[in-house]
Every structure is written in C-alpha cells, then in structure tokens.
Symmetry: C2
Subunit: 122 residues, 2 copies
C-alpha cells in the first residue's frame, strides 16, 4: 500500500470507530508520541502492545459523545489526520472538546510513528 492508501484506509477505519482493525496498518514496533503525558503514563508508547494499552486507558477513562475525523493531508511518507472529540472525562466528570492533529510516518508500507499535536487545554 502506498502512503496515501494507508492514510485513506486509516481515516476510513477511524471514522467507523474500528480502532482495532486500524492497528493492522501499524508496524509491530511502531511508536506513539503525545504532546503531554497522560496521568501516570509516559509521553511515548513503544510497540503495538503499548499503543493498545494507551488506547484502552483512553477509552475506559472517556465517554465519547461525538467524534470527527478529518483529512488525510499527505506529504511524501507522512500524513496528517485531524481529530475532534466531544467527551466526558469519567474520573472528573468534566465534559470537554478535544482537538488534535496526528502526524503519521510510514516506512515499508506500515505506520511506524504517530505524533499527537495539541495544546494543554485540548
């Protein structure tokens, strides 16, 4: 698959909420980087197991009211996807809008790196 094909497939699967199926687009040793560390977690998750654990933490700590997925915007072996979530943080009960841009890097037909850009307030 080309980078654009991977980008389009990822966006399609994210729009459908098929996050586990989306992981088939990742390399086993893919790295995920957050702009800010989630509570008690590292900013960097290494490997698919670490990325899955982070995803499960996020899902179990947030009630998702709506999700918008935008893009992809490609450049060579990278692409950007936009995410906007309306969620309630379960521990605090606080409802909030989270908006972030994810930058993906592709190597050998697989996503090897994802980087989530957002503000502290996001």
């Amino acid at each position: 698959m080309t980078t654009l094909e991977i980008a389009n497939k990822l966006v399609e699967l994210c729009k459908q909420g098929k996050h586990e199926e989306a992981k088939t687009l990742y390399a086993d040793d893919a790295v995920s980087v957050e702009a800010f560390a989630p509570p008690g977690m590292d900013r960097v998750a290494k490997g698919l197991a670490g990325i899955r654990a982070k995803g499960e933490w996020w899902t179990s700590n947030h009630e998702i009211h709506s999700a918008i997925v935008a893009g992809p915007w490609p450049l060579d072996d990278k692409f950007i996807v936009g995410f906007k979530f309306e969620v309630t943080n379960k521990p605090s009960g606080q409802r909030m809008t989270m908006e972030e841009m994810a930058l993906y890097t592709v190597e050998g037909g697989k996503i090897v790196r994802e980087e989530y850009f957002y503000n502290t307030g996001a």
Copy 2:
C-alpha cells in the same frame, strides 16, 4: 520566544494577512517544502528569499476570496497550522477550495522549516 509563542504569533499574523511581518519569525536559511511542485518551480524553496519568491508567485496567480487559519497544535519544537482558502486560479480562471496543513519546525527561537501537507486535488 517559545515554540508556542511563535506558533500563536504566526497564526495571529496569518489571520490578519500580515505575511511579510510573519517572515520575521523565520530564520534566514529556513526551508519550505510543498507536497507537490508548483508549475515550473521546485518543491523545495531554500532561504527567506526563496520563500518570499514562492509567496509572491502564489499571490500573483490566485485571487483570494476567503481564508481560514486554524490552530496552532503544538508538540515539542514543532507545531501544525491549518489553512483553507477559497481562490480563483488566475491563469485558468478556475475557482477552487484549497485545504492544507502546515507543519513548522522551530530551532533557536526561529522557524527553520515549514512543510505543506495536501492532496493533489487541493
């Protein structure tokens, strides 16, 4: 200035259409990369002079009907800004919507690299 301060300033100036003033945020040897080469031009413009020349080409070849600037979304020494333009390409007379994400890299308090992510159809 921190990366976030530079990011906020760039967005503020772009929203005001002050593109020349925005250049004061750039290093003299900054590099600008396009997802696709403009007609007769290279994909990569090197140095502020090259970036200015590309900007002047774009401005003289497009009538801008509206511009939306979104973001910034920061991560460490990088940040992303979104642009959406409604323009008419002067040579062809074709009206179109251009949507792109720009990824900026900061070093030593200046923007040293900008990369424009978009699709061929953008």
